[in-house]
Structures are given as C-alpha cells and as structure tokens.
Symmetry: C2
Subunit: 99 residues, 2 copies
DNA sequence: ACAATAGGCAAGTCACGGCTTGCCTACAAT
DNA sequence: ATTGTAGGCAAGCCGTGACTTGCCTATTGT
C-alpha cells in the first residue's frame, strides 16, 4: 500500500522529478542510462548509487515499476498515483488522511 | 517567482497537508484557529510557532495568501498552483486500461 | 576462465527541515 | 493604564534525507 505522504515526499526532490522527466520522454531505461542522461542533459553530477537510491524512493512511492531482464533492470513510469493527488484540495469535499 | 520545487516540498509535510485540508473545509482561519483545529481533529500536538512556520512555507509556495485585519491574520487558500502541477508527467500517458 | 559491465549493500558524513524555547511587538478589552 | 490576546523573531536541538565511499554479487562477452 502506497501512502500519499510517500508520494509527495518522493516528488519533493528535484533529481527525482528530473528522473520522472527522463522516463516520461523515454520509458524503460536502465540505471546507467538514467545516470548518463541526467549528467549530460541536466548537469546532475550525483553518483550512480545516489541515483539508485532515488529510484528506490520512486519505486516505493509507486511511481515507477521495475522489470529485470538478465543483468539489466528497466525502469518504467507509472503515473497513475499522480492522477488524483491534488483533487483533495481542488474538490469541495476534502479527503481524509489516514496515518 | 514561485518555483515548482517549493510547491512539492511544501506538500511533502503531513502537517502542512492537514493545514490545507482545514483551509479547504473552512477558509480564512487565523493561526490560533488552525492550531486548535489541528489539535482537536487531527491530533497534531505541535506548538503555535511550528504551525506558524508551516504557514510561512505554504505562503512562500503560493498555496495560501494572508490578509491582516487588526490583530488578526487570516489565511486563505489558493489552489491555483496545484491545478497543472502533475501534467508535466501525465501528458502523453495512456489514460486508462479500460477495454 | 577471465575480464568487463550492470547493479546491490552497508556504513558513514553532512546539511537541512521540523520543532522547541524564550522573549518580544502590536492590537484590543476592561 | 493595565492586562490579555494574536502573532513575530531568533537561536538552538535533533532526526532524517541526500550523498559518498568501499566492497560485493551477478550476468555477459571474448
């Protein structure tokens, strides 16, 4: 079960938002591909392990799903959790938060 | 002016989301009203200063606007920054898996 | 078999965010 | 004028998050 708090916290980091941008443009990338594109296109100089930890956070938030194939691990975007995340404050009746 | 990072970071905190919930239900509350309702309805035991700092963050993110009147300071919700914040990743996505 | 590639695990550093404490200003009521 | 109410300012504590470093496992290529 993915909590709404994990979702917002995952989106609170700029590097993670850039990762989602990259996967939006080209879905199913590996860790090394994401590292390369972040470095060359967004000047993100973080280490591979840092990006890997970001991917873990995004996966725990339910925003990406992973698929292993041989020694490759492909990361796929899942934007379904984002669909109605702000409706809580845009609708007339707020949704309760369950801790 | 208001960066998108500030917006997500403001939403990353549970207490701040609860503040938005409270203002959604009853707009234009003062700091003390918000403190009281957070305590009685959501078991938030933070101090008044903590809530005040949360309100500063929300205002800096453009999610609330304040209006001073005498010794009261009323807080009003502004959900406009939330409207299109997730469209960045939802643009060219499959809408639903409905057959 | 051996090396290169893709990725994982764990400990440690460091800065920032959330929160408190203490004191202060401004307005209102009596 | 004095007291109480609504809010602000600033310093400090402390836990958590982002990141690095070092080493390890697994799969692929030659």
């Amino acid at each position: 079960m993915v909590r709404v708090g994990d979702l917002f916290q995952a989106l609170a980091d700029r590097t993670r938002r850039l990762i989602l941008d990259e996967l939006t443009e080209r879905d199913g990338q590996t860790l090394f591909e994401i590292c390369g594109r972040l470095a060359t296109r967004h000047q993100v100089g973080s280490s591979r392990q840092a990006i890997s930890q970001h991917l873990d956070v995004l996966e725990a938030a339910g925003l990406i799903v992973t698929r292993r194939q041989g020694r490759y691990k492909f990361h796929h975007l899942d934007t379904r959790p984002l669909r109605s995340i702000t409706e809580r404050w845009l609708r007339s009746e707020p949704t309760e938060e369950t801790p």
